[in-house]
Assembly symmetry: C2
DNA sequence: TTGAAAGCGGTACCAG
DNA sequence: CTGGTACCGCTTTCAA
């Protein structure tokens, strides 16, 4: 039997390469490359160009990214580690903006999950892709060792958005403390003193919740008490049931979702909002305006995707060794009816 | 000054390769490869193994994924096109499950956005990565041409989760029609006849909203009217203001978020829910239980991540040419107080 | 204007 | 048990 006979396996059909295109067009692989990349440095005759293009089209040729970047010595991959926790609409929208902006700068945005991996393993897995930049937003913290691994693998920019700066990384600080501080200050301004701060029981949120709590604590005139609570009706009801014993006159509930849950439970318990207890959330979700009373909140101004994208781009082109701190986030209390 | 003096450019430091490791350990590249991959076919002495491991550690060596897969002739990448619209918690959780399950099967999960790209461009961009499988969940539809492009680039499984089957793909049908049908049937069962169906004005949701509308239409005894509405208080208020003229006695509002928005607007307009108008949403969000009356909804049972992961795995190992239809989703109406 | 060939970083065959 | 080496697909000098 000759090589061209049917193989037993169904269709491990060969993926067309630039050599196939070259053969079909009757030119060399070099010419194929020139044509398909619109090389300026070299002039190729129009008829040849057409033949190459047609051949590529007919074969359904798509270049092999791995081979290309191997040869080039670098990629244009910007890696976004996927957060482990479900993300809210605020963050989700921001992420879309960011992707869009990066694409316009000709980067390839890749989200890479690391669910069952330890910090070190995750960093190695990311490094294998040789991303030119890594943007770690929320959920995942990068250790300075992780940052080193990534840089060694060629990452020109490592940006972290956690509450704390990481040595060696371009820290893009989202100061979550500010959120807690604004909430507490607002409550104090409304005459409240004994303030409960809801801390989610769910895993992976400490990164945000701890600074928010700390921020509330540092506000003058506020007596703060931490209140662990899970994102469920049962947990909220349980907390509400022992509310009167806590002797609090206000609560900052981590974010609007927890706030709504708790507020409802408090009302079901017969407590009047805001007379007996003021409630404030964070993130300014639309749904917060649907409850009665309308939920007061801390609105967070995210940096625009464009802004962050251009920051990345600059860092890639001119990787300065200094750790930079950028405060791109602002927070502001919005009073509605629950405080 | 020696070579170790400061170079003008900061640090375009070379990324360590397996050759560097080999040199440092005093062995060949082959040996490095054997050791680091725990090759069974070849026995390497323990001292050598140690020397190699140490050298790799000291250099912070991380293998180059592109080179590896180039040589291997295939990748273990499962590509998940990122949806263009913000995703809900339901989908978000499912996605995490799926990633986790795929990782356990030793696949590399990569989410790849395609925001500013046309369908064709997107398919090509994905194909460049040579993924072994593509799972398109919601938001993005694959044309049969896209599927062909991907298969030609070596994808052994292309799974789409849209409302319609795509030729050449393993269609994993999430029949959104069923959602609309369940909602309408529930309302008819509660004695309603003239049913409004809210259709989001936002881009990119037609893929889901159109089948949900169609599903409602096919229910016996229901007179259905489509109601375009944006996800904003203004749009909801505008719709509510002209409600009485519409002469509807019930509304299915696409999902719980739109339902809550509309229900609040209707109440503000002085309409009683459910006496004058029954309201039902979909997706069974927790927040739907916080409003009064509590929101009735259609609960959607997603397939488990494990299930889908093993489906992918089977398809990869044994790529059957037949287009399969799997109905992994079920929907069921949950009555609370708004209907 | 086009072609031949080197080489990017790994892997795996075959010798030694 | 270990080393030499061919090769994966693509880009890019250098020559013709």
């Amino acid at each position: 039997m000759s090589e061209s006979s049917k193989s037993p396996k169904p269709l491990p059909l060969p993926v067309p390469t630039s050599a196939d295109v070259a053969r079909r067009a009757g030119v060399s692989r070099a010419t194929v490359s020139y044509v398909l990349n619109n090389a300026e440095a070299v002039r190729i005759s129009e008829p040849t160009r057409r033949r190459v293009r047609e051949a590529a089209e007919e074969l359904g040729y798509v270049p092999h990214a791995a081979a290309r970047s191997l040869r080039a010595g670098h990629t244009r991959i910007v890696l976004l580690p996927t957060p482990h926790v479900p993300i809210g609409p605020l963050y989700s929208t921001f992420l879309n903006e960011l992707q869009w902006a990066l694409r316009r700068l000709d980067y390839t945005v890749v989200q890479y999950g690391s669910l069952g991996l330890s910090g070190d393993e995750a960093a190695r897995a990311w490094a294998e892709l040789r991303p030119v930049a890594v943007i770690s937003l929320g959920g995942t913290t990068l250790s300075s060792h992780d940052v080193a691994t990534l840089k060694r693998a060629g990452a020109r920019a490592v940006i972290t958005m956690g509450p704390v700066g990481v040595p060696g990384a371009h820290a893009l600080v989202m100061d979550q403390q500010e959120v807690g501080a604004r909430a507490a200050a607002h409550l104090v301004g409304r005459g409240r003193r004994r303030i409960g701060v809801v801390v989610p029981r769910e895993e992976g949120m400490e990164l945000f919740s701890a600074p928010r709590l700390a921020g509330a604590r540092r506000v003058e005139g506020a007596e703060v008490e931490a209140l662990p609570m899970a994102y469920s009706e049962e947990s909220a009801a349980e907390l509400a049931a022992r509310w009167r014993g806590l002797r609090l006159d206000a609560v900052f509930a981590y974010n609007d979702e927890y706030a709504m849950l708790l507020m409802r439970a408090l009302q079901d318990e017969g407590l009047r909002v805001p007379e007996e207890v003021a409630v404030i959330g964070a993130d300014d979700l639309l749904i917060g305006r649907l409850l009665r009373p309308r939920l007061s909140t801390v609105r967070i101004e995210m940096p625009t995707g464009d802004h962050l994208a251009s920051l990345v781009d600059r860092a890639v082109r001119e990787p300065s060794e200094v750790t930079e701190r950028h405060d791109l986030m602002t927070a502001e209390a919005v009073r509605r009816e629950s405080t």
